[in-house]
Symmetry: C2
Subunit: 352 residues, 2 copies
């Protein structure tokens, strides 16, 4: 006899976790350093009046993370922009001396292709990270600078940011930083997944049970700094798109200007706390939540060991640490929701 009920099912451990794959993937991305530096040197030597991280959906989230990372650190003219808006509204501040930095997994995203075409009509340049060799965006006329390597989009963007700041005299510790990451980052991220695993399985089970009881209720994801892009992506590209879970993403600072009023005892709230300079905004939310809610969860990157990573560099990878934690949650949500992550209701199912 077997009923397929959760009561008879043994909780798995480290579901869908391949440590060697993580180590190889992150190390391979970090090994792109020389390629990235060569491209940035070329961009720098030709001169530019603006660096535009452009994206759509998940890559827009990464663009926002790159911009907020540099905003407080660099005087360089660095912006985040949505590719579809760029194609529709245009941007009068984007000139023939402007450079786009973008990333695409498929290399076929229509908005990104249109954006690259528009950039070239203006006379600007495109630096593209594309995961898929042979895809449209790897075509000779789509970009001036191309690096083809899978995954690690956020890391690739931050590697560009770091070297840009180094060249602009704003990151003296660059060499030390890179060596520290090259030595410890891959293992630290893999270890984070291992450290988070048991907790993540329990949390995913709780989410699944809550959704069974209140399927309409959105999950509130609150985050600032590089965590805002993390929450934006987790809420939209993972939970809404892959699991069909309702979410509402908001920044910590905006939370206090309206959204707080819909939080009561049972409202499910997840606060992302990173270790960058916007942490105080999240700390304010963390003080408020317990007063009005007993169904909140705080995921704090500060709780993970990140062995070997220098204290002062931790904040710069908080978004990668949060993704590692979310990888664990999502692995169990897939099981407990009985919802394969690959299925889509609408996306790529018909023309719209």
């Amino acid at each position: 006899m077997y009923t397929g009920s959760k009561w008879q099912e043994k909780d798995p451990v480290l579901r869908d976790f391949d440590e060697q794959e993580i180590l190889d993937s992150v190390s391979g991305a970090l090994a792109l350093r020389e390629q990235i530096e060569t491209v940035v040197d070329e961009i720098w030597d030709k001169g530019f009046d603006g660096i535009w991280f452009m994206g759509i959906g998940g890559t827009y989230a990464s663009a926002m993370q790159a911009e907020v990372y540099m905003r407080g650190r660099s005087a360089l003219p660095v912006y985040a922009e949505n590719a579809a808006e760029f194609v529709t509204t245009g941007n009068r501040r984007f000139t023939p001396k402007s450079v786009v930095i973008m990333s695409s997994v498929s290399g076929e995203t229509p908005e990104m292709i249109s954006m690259a075409e528009r950039v070239h009509e203006i006379g600007g340049r495109v630096f593209a990270f594309v995961d898929t060799p042979g895809s449209t965006l790897t075509g000779r006329n789509m970009q001036e600078y191309l690096i083809t390597y899978p995954k690690n989009e956020q890391l690739k963007f931050y590697m560009v940011c770091n070297y840009l700041m180094y060249k602009n005299g704003e990151f003296d510790e660059y060499e030390d930083y890179c060596l520290n990451m090259e030595e410890y980052l891959a293992q630290a991220l893999a270890d984070t997944e291992k450290e988070a695993d048991t907790w993540a399985a329990g949390f995913a089970r709780r989410i699944a049970d809550q959704l069974a009881e209140r399927p309409d209720m959105p999950y509130y994801l609150i985050a600032s700094g590089n965590q805002y892009g993390a929450a934006y992506s987790a809420g939209m590209c993972y939970w809404e798109e892959q699991f069909w879970i309702r979410t509402r993403v908001i920044s910590c600072q905006e939370f206090f200007h309206g959204m707080l009023e819909v939080i009561t005892r049972n409202t499910p709230v997840i606060l992302y706390m990173g270790e960058d300079e916007q942490r105080p905004l999240a700390e304010r939310v963390s003080r408020f939540l317990p007063k009005v809610c007993e169904n909140y969860t705080i995921i704090d990157t500060g709780e993970f060991a990140l062995y070997g990573i220098r204290e002062e560099y931790r904040g710069s990878i908080s978004h990668l640490v949060m993704r590692a934690v979310n990888n664990r949650i999502d692995a169990y949500l897939e099981l407990y929701l009985r919802h394969p992550r690959t299925i889509r209701r609408y996306y790529h199912q018909f023309d719209y």
Copy 2:
């Protein structure tokens, strides 16, 4: 006998509508033109390396509207920034030659006061619209340029934008535009409320009934261009804050990169359609929605007469038109939800 039931209640007409108050308020704002031009002339003559519309909550929504309005039209360095992030992260591109444009109703918003102080530490200038005379932000050391007049924040910001573009040689029709607005805008907005009233009452009744049935379900507000700020503000500053209704706001372009998957037959979706250059992004959503949802509502500013407003200027006021429609919806929501707009659970109720 009287049960207080909705079945015995006669639907009101033009609830909380004071036409003369609207006409006076909008006309008074438009009459600020000379004051605004004088301030902008001074800012221009002293020179600047950036114009930063900064806000938080509703004023951040207005800042985003100003930025998106100028993005496709002006080569001037105009940005939108969140005041709390500016105070926390800082912005290395903000210099002593940078200027903040801001607005505050109370003149007491803590984040805005901190932001103005921070701007002055850097040596930048502040141009403040403050509704409340005698408030902290009207203090001599809080801004270099002050205009005190209630309401119409979005209109004031756009008046600044228009004159900036005129001075930069990007708005030749400026004089004609202003005269057209001064002659027709106030009445057009009042008339929009009258045109929308009956429909808005029915829509509010339907929302109230749906919420009684599915109180957890968020309302999805989808919008782009100057409508994005309109939806951002309506969803957060009105529905969440004033009515405790759950919302999820998303831009049309991002909707297709994840959020679409949670829309099914009964999901309540409201699409804002304006008449600015990002209308095509909303049109794509309007084609998609009917295929998967029968509980969507499209509010299209194009359906309102706006008598006298020149065709080519309509897009520049679409966000004001949408606010007029929302004023009507909110007036009836207050009644049908039996939820006075002035009450707050938490905001200003205790320290946090």
